[in-house]
Amino acid sequence: MRAKVGVYICECGPNIAEKVDIDGIIAGLSEFDGFGETELVVKKYGFLCSKSGREFLEEEIRNLGLTHLVIGACSPRDHDSTFKGVCGRTDLNPYLYRIINIREHCSWVIDDVEKATEKAESYLRGGIARVLRQSELFENPIDVNPDVLVIGGGVAGMQAALSLAAEDRRVSIVERSDRLGGRALELSGLSSGTFRGSDIAAGQVESVMGNPYIDVFLNTGVSSVIGFLGNFVIELLSDEDGATTEISSGAIIAATGCAVYDPSLSGSYNYSDRDDVYNPLEISRMLSSEGGVALRSGGRPENIALVHCAGRDELNYCSGICCGVMMKTALLLKESIPGVDITEFYRDICVPPHEGRQLYESVLEAGVDLVRVESAGLSGTTVSFREKSGVEDQRSFDMVVTAPALIPSPDTADIALLLGIPLDDTGFFQEAHRMTDPSGTTTDGVFIAGTSQGPRGILDSMRFARASAGLILTRLIIGEKLVPEVAVSEILEAYCTGCGNCLEVCVYGAIYSDGSKGVSVVNEAICRGCGNCFGSCPSGALRTKHFTNTQLYREVDEALR
């Protein structure tokens, strides 16, 4: 069939019309014979993006039987989707259309009408040449599995499961240890705001266990993950008997939590496990035990030092929650041991805004001695410190409480590898975008939550979990299909040498190696059409649909003619 390309030039009021001789371009293109048999229809319109402009285009496509459409107008960022929509309302495949930016690239930046016109005309010629090499592409909606796998049964993982589980959406929680609840369950003595961490976690455990739509796998790890958003297949491995279970889900939330830094790794903290040096978790446990807080030798401590910021220099980050935890620990110790003297050595006070000054003031009121230091170290239970004024001193105590930083849990790296998501330079999961997409990852369908992404408190972890759960609610909609990217990469088997370069550069994990044929294969459901692989292929086997070499070369050749 003979191609019939409709070329419509938008005047954009005076924006294009005043700086580009549109009638001249229409005359020039109409006389141009470089496209062989192709028939060109070239027209102008006041505002193609307006309702009347869109209707005009629809009628033109239908009445003239256009096979291709080129729009000379503004930036695709403004109106590409508008004209794609126009095609969508006719029989013209939207991949047989192209917008050419003759406003931002020509009329707005070139003062000379002749030069602006010449450039606009060459751009349009290039666009016509390209659109003639474009092919129809079709959306291929796929069924999705609405179920979700949550890795980690701490407060974040449990909250995500509780937010998602419903009659038509099952959630599986995989937990490495032998119980749900995570670290929060150990915080029986410490509260988060006005609540005890352990009460929050215990309440969640009860809700999870009573929820008919949540399956819990304890003492279980993840051994393999394949698939993509909407369709993952996960193999679970029981730590108890080595048995494997295969489950499927549409999305995965990694809520693998964190661990606590070991202060003795820091050069300035010298103590052994015979010394009465503890972290707040251990104090919390003692506080809720029958014997209360006691020295290893038996007996109550008469004076206790709380030393902030263990690991802050070594790790080069501030966990942001330790100051609050230490102040609460000081208050609890004061309350549980009558007459105890408490000295808190701190460097900077970093307390979340919600806690405000109240916490700080109640610590002062309780008679805790707050000493601001430049640095502090331990030798057993003796604290050596340097004050801001430069004065150095040391003092001995019966007991010392350190404030270790939160660090990534030991299996973070393994889980990241299984899920195909990167870690950042601190060893926590890296977000898809640190600011605008903090709950997503580079693998679509894999989300992160809680302290697996970075240090934070219990309530913030739960809010984070609700964010990831919310994103899944908007992506895996019951009864709706997913439409994967259409302009994806493809590999021409005949030219592929199976070198694997493309596997290395694919950030989405969309390419795998077919060992039996010795070639690489693109999973079109995962591919996002970024084109990284295209550049890496030494044999020309790779093509990115809608961005082929032929399309690009023809456009450039014609524009430069």
Binding site: Y317, C318, R463
Partner: protein
């Protein structure tokens, strides 16, 4: 009663926009109401955002575009919400679209109407650092790129004088001086409050000279001074004298005592300013007068420790409240208590005050209108906190972002997603209950 699945979001900053996009992605109808003539919120006032030093407008513009182009999001700029009645699943709300006097449909944003306007006054969005006309867009790159006529300063609309120069200059007949407020009633299932925050009112601390000494700057004034799309195209020159500052002091923790909390972002934006200055004015000497260094989270302290002595001199003071800034000829004298108890002085020619984040000054009114309670600091109070909920004291109304308390961009976005998720969760639970009732079980 049938459950309504659409959502009203008040505030089109990064939190409101992210929540809107997420809900629209779930095929929900979203009504996004913004009191300014443009969407984007406070983030777009920053040239670059910490810690990645990414161009803020480049980061936010695609989000703004996506919002404006999404057929499921109805954006009401230059609008307020007058009333919210009803309850979860069946709220009815009244939106007041203030008269813009310029048609959002017909205007193409060419800006031909600006020059003819005879009125000139300070541009609030640019922190008063440059003038605007009565017909104006707040900033270059405004989205939607459609001006508004400020009725109180317009000669015609304020009744001072007959003038229609803007209308005459418009080739698209987009100016309508007879425009009036429009009141629209909508039905929604949930509401999200995402109205953002303000910075501490620096005029409350006369010892720091803000508003009296021209070389004393607020953080957003400095952001705009640095911004390449700002009043000076990014040239850092002093207000009044027009000279380039050589010695600059950044004073931390301003308003912390008065507000009663640490905002946890001011240290970071102060260190960002140090980077800005090092980049633009490599010869300048920069001092940070600070108390606690609060850089919470995995990526903030390393941003601070990457600065060295050539970038800034860190001067610790045990009492920010006792810092004084006074005039000293063409420059300024800054005095502060040193750790040894003595008062020290430094001579500088520019002072930037790192002000605390405080509740938006319009939040009290919004809270009253929406029937929700504020916390002791004046931010929106959440209930059922032990479940990480962002539910306000009124069922079906959620809060997100800095309306809930000071926070950085990352945590603002997390909260926006969390609130949107919670709204969805609540509405699907309500729908499930409805289904059960309908089936008679």
């Amino acid at each position: 009663m049938s459950q309504n699945g659409s959502v009203l979001i008040i505030g089109a900053g990064i939190a409101g926009m992210k929540a809107a996009l997420m809900l629209a992605g779930a095929s929900r109808k979203v009504h996004l109401v913004e009191r300014l003539p443009i969407i984007g919120g406070k983030v777009i006032k920053n040239e670059e955002s910490f810690p990645n030093m990414e161009c803020s407008t480049c980061m936010v513009a695609p989000v703004q575009q996506a919002v404006l182009q999404n057929p499921d999001i109805e954006t009401y700029t230059y609008s307020t919400v007058d009333r919210i009645d009803g309850g979860p699943g069946c709220f009815s709300a009244v939106i007041r679209k203030k008269a813009r006097y310029i048609s959002l449909v017909d205007c193409i944003g060419c800006g031909m109407c600006f020059d003819p306007c005879p009125v000139s006054l300070a541009n609030e969005w640019e922190e008063g650092l440059m003038p605007r006309k009565a017909v104006y867009v707040p900033c270059s790159g405004s989205l939607p790129n459609v001006p508004v006529i400020d009725a109180s300063s317009c000669l015609h609309l304020s009744g001072k004088q007959e003038c229609s120069l803007c209308a005459e200059s418009c080739a698209f007949e987009a100016v309508n001086l007879d425009d009036s407020d429009q009141v629209i009633e909508i039905e929604v299932g949930s509401v999200i409050i995402a109205t953002g925050a303000d910075t501490f009112d620096l005029s409350a601390l006369p010892n720091l000279g803000y508003g009296i000494l021209p070389s004393v700057y607020s953080p957003f004034e400095f952001e705009r001074l640095f911004a390449s799309n700002g009043p000076t195209q990014g040239e850092i020159t002093l207000r009044g004298s027009g000279t380039v500052p050589r010695r600059i002091a950044i004073v931390h923790c301003i308003g912390r005592t008065e507000a009663g909390y640490c905002s946890s972002v001011c240290c970071m934006y102060s260190f960002k300013f140090v980077r800005f200055l090092r980049h633009k004015l490599p010869e300048a000497e920069v001092f940070n007068i600070h108390l606690d260094v609060c850089t919470p989270g995995k990526s903030y302290q390393s941003f601070f420790t990457s600065l060295d002595d050539r970038d800034t001199t860190m001067l610790f003071t045990p009492s920010i409240d006792d810092v004084r800034v006074t005039e000293n000829g063409p420059s300024l004298t800054l005095s502060y208590p040193a750790p040894d108890g003595n008062t020290r002085e430094i001579e500088v020619d520019m002072v930037i005050l790192a002000a605390a984040m405080v509740p938006d000054r319009g939040l009290g009114e919004i809270a009253q209108m929406a029937g929700i309670q504020l916390d002791r600091h004046g931010f929106v109070m959440t209930v059922d906190r032990e479940s990480g909920s962002l539910q306000t004291s009124r069922d079906g109304i959620f809060v997100a972002g800095t309306a809930e308390g000071p926070k950085d961009i990352q945590n603002t976005v997390i909260q926006a997603e969390s609130a949107a998720g919670q709204a969805l969760e609540a509405m699907s639970a309500a729908a499930a209950v409805n289904k059960e009732r309908a089936s008679g079980s």
